[in-house]
Structures are given as C-alpha cells and as structure tokens.
C-alpha cells in the first residue's frame, strides 16, 4: 500500500510539474466536441439527439491520445525497469499508474462535461446520467488502454498500432455509455446500463492490472 501511494503521488507530482500539458486532453475534448455543430448542423433539435454520442466518442479519442504517455517517459528514462524489478506486487503498482493517469486526464473530462452538454443542447435532466456513465466508463478506458500501451511501449512507432489494438475493445463502454444517456432522454429506466457499466469497471479493475503488468514484463525485455 505504501508503494501504491508513493507511485501515485510521484505521478501526480510529475503531472503537476508539467501542468502546461495537463490541459491538453481536456482542450482536445472540448475542440472535438465543438467541431460537430460546425460539421453537421447548429440546429438544437439535431444536436440534442447526438449530444451523448458525440461527447462519448470525444472522451474515447481524448483518452486514446493521452493514454499513450502513461508508460512512455518511464520507459525512456529507465524508471520502468526499476518498477519491474522492485519487490512489490506489480498489479498494485500498475493500478497506481492507471489511477494517476485517470485522475489527471479522465476526471477533468467529467468536470468540463456540463459545459459541453450546454453547447450541444443535451436534454435537461440527462446531464447527471451522462456524468455518471463517464465516471464509470472513463476508468475502464484508461485500464484497457494501458494494456495496449504496455504491449506497444517498446516499439518506436506504436501510435497507429495502439489505435488499432484498443479502439475495438472500447466498443462495449461506448455502446452502454452513450445508450444510457439516450434512454434517459426518452425517459426510460437506465439501471440496467449503469449496472452493466459498473460490471465492466469491476471486471477491468481486477483483471487489467494483471494484464498490464505481464505485458510490460514482455515489452521491457
């Protein structure tokens, strides 16, 4: 537990010292979302229908962009080797890395979501559901994405490959997340979707750290 907090604190400290970069995933998120009214139509009745989907796709792309850095600098400066060699359970350390990443990139997305909901005329009363699904879904995106990064971190040009590896795996989160909001718009019950997303979160919280650790052991060799 000591090691978990130490690593989490270090990553948060590093993020704080590079706070100029901190806003980038969030800005990306906002910009992508604001492109849609320009490309499709500023008509509120059209925007309303696609608001949830657009916000979810943008959150997914933003996570994809930022997740690549989760192990990059550790790999380059050799601290990743030190982490792999230390006498601590690796999955716990991986959970610390992913938690730090989510706190720095996932949480800000949720915080700016009300603003984007406003821009896209998200129907009244569904903002809460949207934020709840993002809260349950974005950690899953970080966890699953980190597996892909762990597999490709040793490659010089892993960027496109990473996209190919993890985007198909993101579809369940996208489907349940966007759908819950759409169902809420129509006044339907969304407990089912919320439970399913919680299930995905629990599943990935337990299994992904194991996979990330094993993948890193393979990549750093």
């Amino acid at each position: 537990m000591n090691a978990f907090t130490a690593l989490l604190k270090r990553d948060l400290l590093l993020a704080y010292r590079n706070r100029g970069e901190l806003a980038n995933p969030m800005l990306f998120f906002i910009i992508v979302v604001s492109l849609f009214p320009l490309a499709v139509s500023p008509d509120p009745s059209i925007l309303e229908g696609m608001a949830a989907g657009v916000i979810w796709v943008a959150a997914l792309l933003s996570t994809l962009l930022s997740i690549e850095r989760i192990f990059r600098s550790d790999f380059d400066d050799g601290t990743l080797e030190q982490i792999l060699l230390c006498p601590q359970p690796l999955p716990i350390l991986m959970l610390a890395k992913v938690s730090a990443h989510w706190l720095v990139t996932g949480l800000p997305l949720i915080i700016v979501t009300p603003l984007l909901a406003l821009l896209l005329h998200l129907p009244e009363g569904t903002l809460g559901i949207l934020m709840l699904t993002l809260l349950l879904g974005t950690p899953v995106l970080s966890l699953v994405g980190a597996i892909g990064v762990a597999l490709t971190v040793g490659l010089r040009r892993g960027g496109m490959l990473l996209t190919l590896l993890i985007l198909p795996l993101y579809t369940p989160v996208l489907i349940f997340g966007a759908n819950a909001v759409q169902a809420a718009t129509m006044g339907l019950d969304v407990t089912g979707q919320i439970y399913l997303m919680s299930g995905l979160l629990v599943l990935s919280l337990t299994l992904a750290p194991l996979a990330i650790g094993s993948a890193l052991r393979v990549s750093v060799s």
Binding site: N2, N18, D77, G78, T79, E81, Q82, L85, V220
Partner: protein
C-alpha cells in the same frame, strides 16, 4: 549468499551470444564482464537481474531459482542500466524516496548520507534534468546505497563520470564488497579494485562476433 549462473544461453537473431555460460559469485566478490561491443554484456546483465528470460539455463540466488522466487531476489538485487532510472522532473531526494518506497523498509544508508557519499550533497533539491549526465549517474549510485540490496548489477557505471567520481565509485564498490556485498559490472574503463576479490568474465570469444 551467492549468485550462481548455470548453463546460460542466449541467441540474438541467429547468432549465439553465449552458450553454456557458468559462473558463481559469493559474498564479497566483484565480477567484471568484458567483451567487445555487441558481445552481449548488457543482455547478460539484464538476464541476471530478471528483465530478460534466457533461452536456456538457470540463475540461482541463495539456491533459489530467481524465476520462481522473484521476491527474495528482487529485495536483494539492484540494477543500474544504460538509463539512470531517474525522473528528470524530480529532485534526487524525491527519486531516492520513491525507490525506497518501492523496496523494503531496510536500507544501507539514508538518502542524505547516500547522496553525501557520492559527492552529490548540496544538490538534493535540484531537479534531476538540470544535472549533468555524470551527476545523474552519481545519483543513481546513491540509489544503490539507499537500498538494502546486497547484489549490485551495474551496466557501464563509470560512463560520464569524471576522474574524481571514478575513484569515488571504486571506493564505494570496495566498501560494499567488504561489507559482504557483491557487484557485477561491465566497463570499458580499466577498473582499479586492488583490495578485493575481483574476477573477470570475457564474452564473445567462442562465438562468432563478425557481424552484428
């Protein structure tokens, strides 16, 4: 306490870097691995610390296979590779604090003592990326002193270090060996360790080293 390598074997592409490699290091001994570029020195060190799996053979730490009992070995072995393993945006003290939190609670020297010993006293609170390559190397050495590790595995530890730093590191190694520690290192520099049990292992003699 000893490290035993048995029949180690590793090939890169089609070329065997080494086969049937055997050696033993006991407490208080220093082993230097020599060989031309591309002879597999770094690879051997990475196999020894468990980052790479050998194609064949076993490594025993205190008669335990390190692949099976990682915990005890990783508590007792410490590695410095080509990269220093330091975060540029952290100070030396913060870097040492993290490594210490990741290892067990025991330590040979406190962080301040360790930095003092490698001649980095006074730089505790400066970001590592503002330090020179040689200074960062020294901080990495301080990390070893700050850890409980008995076995040090050092890949080119003398790189980028100035003359005074080299003799300082040599005395640190000597002191570690006298305290029943063990060191495995590679170096192109003529290592000067007169007072201790020192041996060398030469790679790349029996194998074909013409193309890389």
């Amino acid at each position: 306490m000893s490290l035993i390598a048995k029949d180690l074997e590793y090939a890169r592409d089609d070329r065997a870097l080494f086969t049937g490699l055997n050696f033993t290091i006991n407490a208080g001994e220093v082993l230097q691995i020599e060989g031309p570029n591309g002879s597999g020195k770094t690879t051997l060190l990475r196999i020894l610390c468990g980052l790479i799996n050998a194609d064949g053979g076993e490594i025993y730490w205190s008669d335990q296979d390190i692949q099976k009992d990682r915990y005890d070995y990783s508590n007792n072995a410490s590695y410095i590779g080509h990269h220093d393993g330091l975060k540029g945006d952290c100070t030396p003290l913060e870097n040492l604090a993290l490594s210490h939190a990741l290892s067990s609670s025991k330590e040979n020297f406190s962080a301040h003592e360790a930095l003092e010993k490698v001649g980095m006293g006074g730089f505790e609170h400066q970001l590592c990326r503002t330090l020179s390559a040689g200074q960062r190397r020294r901080v990495a050495i301080a990390r070893l002193l700050n850890s409980p590790a008995k076995l040090w595995i050092l890949d080119e530890p003398f790189t980028a270090i100035d003359q005074a730093g080299i003799s300082n590191l040599e005395s640190i190694i000597t002191e570690h060996a006298h305290a029943d520690g063990m060191v495995i290192l590679t170096s192109h520099h003529q290592v000067n360790l007169p007072e201790i049990n020192f041996s060398t292992l030469v790679l790349g003699q029996t194998t074909n080293t013409q193309h890389y």
